[in-house]
Structures are given as structure tokens and as C-alpha cells.
Symmetry: C2
Subunit: 403 residues, 2 copies
């Protein structure tokens, strides 16, 4: 019950073990098409491009930023937790001229602040985290996309923690590129990074494309000669979205050797998410969050951070005074087989982070965790009203069942 | 029976479906250590560093070249087939000043030619393909490593096609960095790129390291300030070997979220390869190559390329005059369930490429393919001595069994 990687769905694990097909086998390319179609649904978009990058979530972030940011581009990065700094780190390596906005950890930005900064700095690109697992906060997106269009900036969001657990409304929010994760709310093991992007983003890719393969061009890829006036070439070959797009296009231009098994897993994870129905899935995540937080409060614990922007799939709990947070975590794992997460940087040693994501977001898990945490705290000598936590959670479940 | 991706070993597929562990779980880090130790054995090296990059083979090539080549570095690339051009393409994006040597397809370089070029151009790095699947040739390595040390150049080889099927003698050949593949002779699905590199390569990484994370440093990573006199920073975050190395070191510094399931598969693939024994495994690949080539000759077909440098795990066959190569391939797949490969660039339409790699390198496969190909050719009206192919292959097997 960490904020990822979470327990993979057993049906996904089973799909991973299917015999592999060749990557240009018609059965396999049909599966690729189904995946693109399912990803569009999950990202709530009509974008043509929605496919996984072959790597962990970080590879998807780098593919998007590296393909969309040219050296010297002005980039605005609003940061409210650890993963905002990752966007900074990657954008810096792309040669971006970065303007950072920093918000105190435990809260988020007013969209108006970000909009004002966009108008002031007029960046080429704005990159931000949608759900910050380091602090358990979620950034409201209202108006930010529109401000980006007005300023002719591209808007990129890291929805690694949120995709499949809370709404990611790509088109409605006017986001130009979104990166999702598999090992969180989709309960597919780490290894693929679903991305989607629209025509505005694609225009930037196409401008940088120049298939100047020098000595070699695959059939269908004409070799163009470089010219000083063209925009800078994309630095990476492996994470070049213009090449990945060609591979996922009907032309299926050869690039990497697709990760067949991981794609089977992703396909099954997407099928399960869409079969459940997105709205039901989001409601399930909210229900178990409600039960978990009621239980934690029933135990007398305080939740960390501004409640108005809480990320529904990650709950941060203040470690009570006098309790050794790491010892409690070890005992949860060793005696009860439950893993919860510690925290990063300034929060180190002050909070625990509990994920309720995807397959691990279920009643039995929430109730077991509450019972186990209570036992661990009692054992450490921390006073609390014994038995209250699970009762409080059960009341939430009972009320929901009565609805 | 393509030159990859090949049929995955069913035991590897089963390993993929094991429940996942957290990436800092002691059981999981112990598995990581076992993988490093097994990779050292497979790469025939005492290098400290031997671990997989989380991506397809191409990601491993880019991680190695991108981490070892600084913009402006002189790089020598001897090319004798399609995948040499990939090294060129990636090195070019790293900003290398490249000198290319091109050899006619179907043969390889005399090591002396490469050695002379190293002495003449004095590159910072030499990158070459060990086994070229596009032409079915294997480059002899004798003396090249020594010449690189003499010239103070790093030697990098792409052993994606050869690792686990033919000897890759990292230390004996004095190769500084090697990239292997999983989806070929290891019969693990595509998704990880095992790499190894020595102290000479690590020195280059360390020189470029500068943990200038700007606004953020993980515990254990001190933020250093950039200085103009330092070597250029590694462009990629995801494929930065200095960061991957920290993650695989005992310190386990947080980087990406490890691809747990793929690592289980790799672990099982390595276990199977080492249990078989490297020398037995190489002998098995040679035996089935001998049977396959005897069978193809028995059918009256000609093998493509210079036989003195044939890659044992890939056999290229000239498509006989009057035979539609693609139609024959489709019939093999549709009627017999056997996939063989077409070819690239200048060889398009002229040869078929047959892989005998890892789990797919076995007697039943070779005999079925020979029988099926004979049937397909007969049906297309191509005259051949019916029944000879399988008999010729069986004679090779009988002789080996009698040994």
C-alpha cells in the first residue's frame, strides 16, 4: 500500500506470461491498435496519438520533454513537491531556460498564480505534476490550459500518479501532452509509460523531425539534409517521439523491438480499467480513501497537508510524537506483510504515505492496514482508542452500501 | 525463427507472472545482486558493473554511447550492416565527430584495418557491432581492444545478437563497454538491455557526473555547482549510466521505478543460460547451425555472405530466382506457424534470414523449418531434390550423437 509500485493485478500478471508474437505480426499490430484506442479513453481525449513509451514512467517524461523542448526554450515549472524537481532536472538537461515557481510542500498553487506567471514569462512550455505522491496533493488545472493557448505555450502534465485513479481530462483541460504511469492506479508492473499528445505538440515534433539519418534511411523515411535554420534535432533516438509515432502509425516504421510481454500486461490493465468503467473506478478510489482517512482519524492520527487539495489515491499521515516511523514501517511489513512508504527530503521522518491505488485500493486492504497500524502503534506504547479505527472505516463502508 | 525477438522460454514467461516486490525490499535487492553476478559470468568479465538498463536493446546502446561520448568527441564507427548505422545515428545525436568505415555487406573488417584506422584517427571512442543480424556476419575482435588502449580510446561493442549464443569475451578482448540483448539468444522478451563496463569507462562517467540537481538532491547525493571547465553533462536523465550505477550500487540511490516483472524474467533467463553452461550453450548453437545449413544446402539453396565470418546464430539464405520471398514467408507463417525474417535496405527481397537463437535453437525447430520450407518451395514450382534437406540435417544430428 505504497504510492507505487503497487501490487499488480493477478490478471495482469497472468497476461505477462502469454507466448510472445513478432512485433509486425498482424495479431500483434491489432493489439497495438486496441491499446491506442483504450488509452484515448483513459486519457479522455480524441488525440490521434496515445501510446506507451517503452520504459518506466520517467522515460515517458523524458520522451515528452526532450521531444518538445528545444535548447534555449523558455520553460515554466510550478513545483509543489519532489516530482516537480524531476521535471526541472530533465528540462534542464534539455537545455531549457527554466523559470521555477515553488509552493510550500503540503499545498498546491492557485491556478490564477500559474496563469499570471504564464502571462508574465510567456514560456514555450509549461510542465507540472498533476498528482504529487511526495506530498499527497493534486493540482487543480482550471484555466491553465486556456492561458497556455493564449500565450502560445505547450502544457505538459505528469499524471503518472493519477491516471486510472482520478479523472485526467486531457481535452477538457486543454493539456497538450500527458504522461501516465502503469505501476500506480493501473496496477500493471513498472515498465511502460503511456503518453498522449495533440496536434499542437505534434507540430513541434514535426518541425524538429528532419530524418537526417545520414548514411541510412529505412524504406519510407526519406533522408533530408540538415540546415542551420531548422529547429534543433531531438537529442535522443530511443526517446524521440517523432520516431515512436512513426512506429505506432499504420506505416509501422521499424524502431525499437517492442516490449511484447509488457504490452500484453498493459493491454490487460487497460481492459480491466475500462471494463470497470472510469466513473466507477474513480468512485471506488474515493470510497476507500474515505474509509481509510476515517479510520486514521478514528485512531487519533493527523493527516498531513491542505485537505482541500488532497490527492485521493495517496494519504499522508503525520507520524505521532515519540513513534519511530521506520520501526513501525518495518513491523508492518515483517509481521503483517503490508508495505507503506516513508517520505522524501523535508518530510523525511515526519509522515507516512499510504497508497490506495488500482488493485490495492480495496476494502480488505484498508481494514487490514488499519488494524495492523493500530496494533503496531499500541505495541510501541503510543496511546490510542483501541478498536476505533476499523469501526470508523466500517461505518463509511456501511453508509456507502446503504446508499 | 527470426533473428529476434525469438520465442521466449516458457520458464521465463512463467517467471514474468510472479507477484511483484517493492524495489527496495531486501528480497528484491538480493535478486538484483544475483542478476549482476550472473551477468558478469555471461559477459565473461570481472567488471564491477554489469546490470540491465530498463528499456529495449536500443536503450542500452544509447545509455552507453550517450554516457561515454561528449559533444565534440572523435568517434570511429566501422560499419558492415544495418545496425552499424544505428550506432552512427545515436553517436551523431550525442554530438560526436564521427569517422565511418564502411565494409561491403556480407563480409566484415580485417581487424588490422580497424587497428590502422584507430592509430590514424586516434578517436576517443570506437563503437562497433559484434554480430550483425542484417547480414548474418560476426566481426573478429582480435587486437582491436589492445589498439584502443594504446590510443587511449574506449571500445564499445553491440553484442545484442550474440550474448548468450556465442562467446562474448569482454575482458579477454579488452572491451570497455558491451551492450547485450535479451530477446535474442537469452530468450527473454524484449524490455531490458544488459550492459557491462570497466573502470576505464567508469572514469569517463565519473568525470561527467557533477550531481548538479539544482534545486533538489536526494539524500546521499550532494549538489555540486556547475563549472565551465568540467566535461559536458550527460544529456539524458533516464539513460544516465552514472545514475543507474548509483541505483545498482549498495547505496541503492533512488532513480526510476525498477521494472520488477522484466527483472524476474531476466533472472530466469540468466539462470537457465548458466545452468546449461556457457560452453554447452555455444556448442548447441553451433550444432543446430550446422544441421540447418546442411539442410538448406541439401535443398540446393545458397547461403548468403562470406562463410569465414558467418554469425552462428543467424543464417542468411539467397531467395532462389523466380521465388516470391514474401509469399513464401507468409505461407511458412500461415500454414506452418513458422516465422523467418525478410531483410533490410540493399538486401531487401534477395535473402531470408533465419535465427537459431536461445530457446528457439533446437532440433525440432530446425527439422520442421526445413520440411516446411521445402514444401513451400515445391508448391511455388521451384525444382529441388525432395526429401534431401531433412535427411542432410538428420545426418548432422546423428554424427553429433555418435561423437
Amino acid at each position: 500500500m505504497t504510492p507505487g509500485p503497487v501490487e499488480a493485478d493477478p490478471r495482469v500478471l497472468r497476461a505477462l506470461s502469454m507466448p510472445i508474437l513478432g512485433q509486425f505480426d498482424p495479431e500483434f499490430t491489432a493489439l497495438m491498435n486496441r491499446i491506442m484506442s483504450m488509452l484515448r479513453e483513459l486519457f479522455q481525449t480524441s488525440n490521434q496519438w496515445a501510446y506507451p513509451v517503452d520504459g518506466t514512467s520517467r522515460s515517458g517524461i523524458e520522451a515528452v520533454l526532450g521531444s518538445l523542448i528545444e535548447p534555449g526554450d523558455k520553460v515554466l515549472i510550478p513545483i509543489y513537491g519532489r516530482f516537480g524537481y524531476l521535471l526541472y532536472e530533465i528540462a534542464e538537461r534539455c537545455g531549457a531556460k527554466i523559470t521555477v515557481m515553488e509552493q510550500e510542500w503540503g499545498t498546491v498553487f492557485e491556478p490564477a498564480e500559474i496563469i499570471a506567471a504564464i502571462r508574465q514569462h510567456r514560456p514555450a512550455l509549461v510542465a507540472m505534476v498533476h498528482g504529487e505522491t511526495s506530498t499527497g496533493r493534486m493540482q487543480p488545472m482550471e484555466g491553465i490550459g486556456a492561458a497556455c493557448r493564449e500565450a502560445d505555450a505547450l502544457l505538459v502534465i505528469d499524471a503518472v500518479a493519477t491516471l486510472g485513479g482520478v479523472p485526467v481530462r486531457t481535452d477538457e483541460w486543454q493539456v497538450d501532452a500527458v504522461i501516465g504511469g502503469t505501476q500506480k492506479c493501473l496496477s500493471v508492473p513498472s515498465g511502460m509509460a503511456p503518453v498522449t499528445y495533440n496536434d499542437r505538440a505534434e507540430r513541434k515534433l514535426n518541425a524538429r523531425k528532419r530524418v537526417e539519418r545520414g548514411l541510412w534511411a529505412e524504406p519510407g523515411q526519406s533522408a533530408a539534409s540538415p540546415a542551420a535554420s531548422l529547429p534543433a534535432r531531438i537529442q535522443s533516438n530511443y526517446l524521440d517521439l517523432s520516431q515512436l509515432q512513426d512506429y505506432w502509425s499504420p506505416a509501422r516504421l521499424n524502431h525499437h523491438t517492442e516490449m511484447t510481454s509488457m504490452l500484453y500486461g498493459l493491454h490487460e490493465g487497460l481492459r480491466l480499467a475500462l471494463n470497470e468503467g472510469l466513473e466507477s473506478r474513480f468512485a471506488r478510489h474515493r470510497l476507500h480513501e474515505a474509509a481509510l482517512t476515517a479510520g486514521l482519524r478514528g485512531m487519533g492520527l493527523s493527516l498531513y497537508g491542505d485537505p482541500s487539495c488532497k490527492l485521493p489515491v495517496v494519504t499522508c499521515v503525520s507520524i505521532p510524537d515519540g513513534v519511530d516511523g521506520e520501526k513501525a514501517r518495518s513491523q508492518l511489513l515483517d509481521d503483517f506483510g503490508i508495505e507503506i512508504a516513508s517520505s522524501f527530503g523535508p518530510l523525511k521522518g515526519t509522515i507516512w504515505r499510504i497508497g490506495t491505488m488500482g488493485y490495492s485500493c480495496r476494502k480488505t486492504n484498508v481494514l487490514h492496514l488499519l488494524g495492523a497500524l493500530e496494533a503496531v502503534l499500541l505495541r510501541s506504547g503510543h496511546p490510542l482508542p483501541a478498536g476505533e479505527a476499523v469501526q470508523a472505516a466500517l461505518q463509511v463502508y456501511d453508509a456507502a452500501a446503504a446508499d
